[in-house]
Subunit: 369 residues, 2 copies
Amino acid sequence: MLCSTISVLLDLWKRFQTEQFNWKQRRGKMATTIHDVARAAEVGIGTVSRVINNYPGVKPATREKVLATIAQLNYKPNALARSMISKRTNSIGVVVPFFTRPFNIEMLRGVEAELARVNKDLVIYNVDNDNKRDHYFSELPMRDRVDGLLILSLPISDTYAQNFKQAGMQVVLVDSYSPYLTSLVVDNVTGSYHAVKFLLEQGHRSIGFVNGITEGSFKFNQANDRLIGLHRAFGDFGLPFEPEMVVTNEWNRQGGREAALKLLKRSYRPTAIFAASDMQAVGVLEAARALDIQVPEELSVMGYDGIEVSELLGISTIQQPMRQMGSSGISKLIEHSENPSKLPELIRLDTTLITRRTTAKPCAKDHHS
Amino acid sequence: MLCSTISVLLDLWKRFQTEQFNWKQRRGKMATTIHDVARAAEVGIGTVSRVINNYPGVKPATREKVLATIAQLNYKPNALARSMISKRTNSIGVVVPFFTRPFNIEMLRGVEAELARVNKDLVIYNVDNDNKRDHYFSELPMRDRVDGLLILSLPISDTYAQNFKQAGMQVVLVDSYSPYLTSLVVDNVTGSYHAVKFLLEQGHRSIGFVNGITEGSFKFNQANDRLIGLHRAFGDFGLPFEPEMVVTNEWNRQGGREAALKLLKRSYRPTAIFAASDMQAVGVLEAARALDIQVPEELSVMGYDGIEVSELLGISTIQQPMRQMGSSGISKLIEHSENPSKLPELIRLDTTLITRRTTAKPCAKDHHS
DNA sequence: CAATTTTTTGGAAACGCTTCCATTGAATAA
DNA sequence: TTATTCAATGGAAGCGTTTCCAAAAAATTG
């Protein structure tokens, strides 16, 4: 009799020790779980889950009790466990080339604004070379980290696009196009057309074009679109466009400067330069300054994009609706997530011509040789 | 006999139907799991797991076989399930106020570079008001979505800091300080001191200061630090600093412009203006242009931060090591994740004075009334 | 009041992985 | 040959949720 009592006590003591141990080991790392809440509130885990998710069919009194317990225990559901079952992560991914470039940042502004509205997290997949892009394109369809993907300014092959589709990952393309995915494109042909048309209307006849190169294979259509628009404008005026007036270089300041230098050192110097991006236009301005050429008196400069810098420096430009591209992209993406059977759409956005201080009619005394 | 055969066939057929059904229903959504691989490779799931994680103790031949199966089935482990157990998510979070502002973008450049090196994903928590900040500070410790947190330019209360610590979430602070967390701070007092000292050395005696306001309660020390540095410089020169030479306004272009307008319309106009940020300095430049005041002949302008725009516009400024702040922040964070018992450190970074085209010695014929 | 319907509730199963222990097979020692 | 050791392997348990079904409780009906 005594013996059995002692044995029970020993048992209890042992269990106590173990619990102490577990407790200590777990402390600080282990958060309260749904089971803790259920136990404390004296209900089942199902009920707690229903309360957390605001499901109907819980008696108000019970809901109260659970809510109180949750608050008291400072319980936060584990997002991972939650996503694992529900297949929803409450965060969306954005694949973006060189995400710190002004143009992309501007789009991200729109993205962020829209995401904040719907209260979702933002995961950024930065791409700075072809490998990384392909890596993401092949990896991301299977990743279960994001509910949807916004791809900015990155062309995607049909194979990859179909992969995404097949894997059930919602994708929206911005500033790029695929027949398999909802795409938001900007009519850059028309944008470029208007830029050059404006220059021609101002009376310029000798117009240089600083185009961007196709880096890796990013932005492949961008350079083309610009060129097509330019040709169309010249065509409208019944004017020929000399191919040697095009210089192609990096999509940045230095690229613009170098290209402009080439153009401006020719004996037959252009009276206007159209740059494929604002950053290149900044480079053109630098080149002009270096050669002591007055802008806009001796040289008109036209940019493209409409990033903030163009405003600061007073560069005339073609404004792309960058913010809107980002925000509409996200809202389209969310539409598609909520209704996965929706068919791909093609949305077109337009550009705006903004004239500032770098463009003017050409001077009478031109620098023709 | 016949009957039993038929019954078996029926059974088979039924199972076949079910499998078909499951297959169809799952197609496109359900990825291959570790079990599929194990079955196909004719090994146990444990072995597959060991192969995936590059654990030792798998016979080379077996490893080969599993690897081949993985490739053939195009199997990618489910990151969520994996993180749930291992408590590692392979992504880190960055809490940043107004992440599209140039200064923050610059830091994010460094962040991204470092993150790419260690191959981790980037989750951005953008903060644009106090509520959101507090929300993140109280929510994020329990979130299991990220392995660590980098907090940029955001002051954090001791309570929150301790919460993070206690929850076992690694945190590094950049451009902000807490005794409980590893912090990377920039010595902005000295930076500001050098800016003003430079102006004084150039001979300026009437110096206006465009300071930034404390938005919400972000950046609270920034404005102070600038002011302290300024006072110190004046002190060094044994000169008094008139409080009315300070105008405080938003940390942006418009804020700078408005503040400068006030300063420049005074009868006793300053010969130099020091702005607490480059964007404000841009505003100062705009104000000067509006009032037809030549820079730097009639007015010297000094910025602070060293964002790209300051280079484009040729603004003299105090360069903060933004890139480094981001990258060092991440590497510190990773150090801490790998060695959680590491004690908090305080790392100090320095600024550099960069003189460009907006500063000069004051003209003899000053505009004193 | 009993029978029936409806509302609440509890908790097992499942999600896809890692961890860990038991088991197998091979290699070595006696 | 048999006993002993060690490397390789299989798979159950468990992570913290949601989902779903059966059971209990409450409300309604005749």
